[in-house]
Symmetry: C2
Subunit: 224 residues, 2 copies
DNA sequence: TCAAGAACTGACCAAACGGTCAAGATTTAG
DNA sequence: CTAAATCTTGACCGTTTGGTCAGTTCTTGA
């Protein structure tokens, strides 16, 4: 009941938990759940292993905490797809947003990918309920846009799958992308080229009618 | 030097190695390299663990053998993209082929994905040399098609990435796809819908001019 | 100042793992 | 038939792993 001790800048607990979560995300991304060792996570966080168990109890609990953090990130992006927006803008923003996170938080994407790849033992329930409902809502929007003639009637759920696949590919398969492009590290230009390619593929592929040329600072006028 | 003993239908060695490889692919797909145990692979192959080490020596050697098998599969599909074909036909075939293998050999795709996801410790060299060269060759073809006005000038390498991403998504993220679609198992119709969506996205997205309606049995004249 | 709670940690443990091996069973070539 | 080669396998081993714990140090509210 009593509020936890909290120095400014976060209590000791909050600070150490955050530190451990960052280290854990990196190690889980590199090695997967089974391959990750609590010793490796502790070493990366520069804390004794026992300290890590003091805060999170078990490796699985720590893993779930990492996943929970990632989901918050993932859910945000889909908000770009709203019925009151122009499809071109919405899809462009969504793709940009996903590509942004693929670049800035590749480890988050990798941990998530690894979880699904191996049967989603922790996230299975979430996928079948929460995620499914959200995708269903976005499908309604996409179908409406198609009915209004703003885009071709593409299967909305499969369209979402392709968006996920293409954008997350640059985080999850980064090693392959780098190897094929012959890069030591992916550059800003690489991400721009990738984003442009995906945006073109989706907008032209769905024959999205680009709205009238708007000026910057789009005070999106609701369609009257 | 002396040829190995080989009963008809395969020598004991060939038969057992094949049996172990099948089991290993499944277990590696489910659990990843580190998560897979030689005991689990042996149990699935219905052989004693020691027998497995008799044939493959180490877990890593077995894993490499599994990967080698998978690469043979993967390389075949790219052959669809040849300069002497119509882009629409070639791309459609490539997508269909990849989707076919995603459905028929999901474990192969998952093992491959897991390998790349965790930094390609075994395939790193292959990606940077063999795969890179092959993609480069296909990029030449795609650029030629663009120059000939048969399709828009999309960045060919990134286009290949999107093709890989979209098609392999249905194997690697099958659990998520099933959850969102609300299916216990993906049906023939699901794969058809997915393939159709991807094909439309790519062909319209690249503005591929569907060639003049050709008759079946296209006696494609080899460029002399 | 000073208890009381929170945080810290080296040492330890049982279980699980990859891999080994010696000894026996089976197959094959001549 | 027979001896060499191949195949089979239970038992075993050193190492690594996730997790525990008792004892200590640090932080904080009154």
């Amino acid at each position: 009941m009593s509020k936890r001790a909290q120095g400014r800048g976060g209590s000791i607990r909050a600070r150490n938990e955050a530190r451990i979560l960052v280290a854990a995300e990196a190690v889980f991304a590199e090695a997967g759940f089974q391959g990750a060792t609590t010793a490796a996570i502790a070493a990366r966080a520069k804390l004794p292993k026992a300290n890590l168990h003091y805060y999170f109890g078990t490796k699985q609990a720590l893993y779930r905490a990492v996943l929970a953090n990632i989901l918050d990130l993932w859910l945000g992006a889909l908000d770009a797809i709203r019925a009151d927006r122009q499809p071109a803008e919405a899809l462009r923003d969504y793709i940009s947003s996903k590509m942004h996170w693929s670049r800035q938080r590749p480890n988050a994407s990798k941990v998530f990918a690894n979880e699904i790849l191996h049967g989603a033992p922790q996230l299975g329930g979430y996928l079948a309920t929460d995620l499914r409902r959200r995708v269903g809502q976005k499908a309604v929007v996409l179908r409406r846009w198609a009915r209004q003639g703003l885009m071709d009637p593409v299967d909305p759920v499969h369209l979402v799958f392709t968006l996920w696949a293409m954008t997350q590919h640059y985080a999850d398969f980064e090693m392959q992308v780098r190897a094929v492009l012959g890069r030591q590290r992916l550059t800003e230009a690489d991400y721009t080229a990738a984003t442009d390619t995906i945006v073109k593929l989706v907008l032209d592929g769905c024959k999205v009618t680009s709205g009238p040329p708007r000026k910057a600072g789009q005070g999106l006028r609701r369609s009257p």
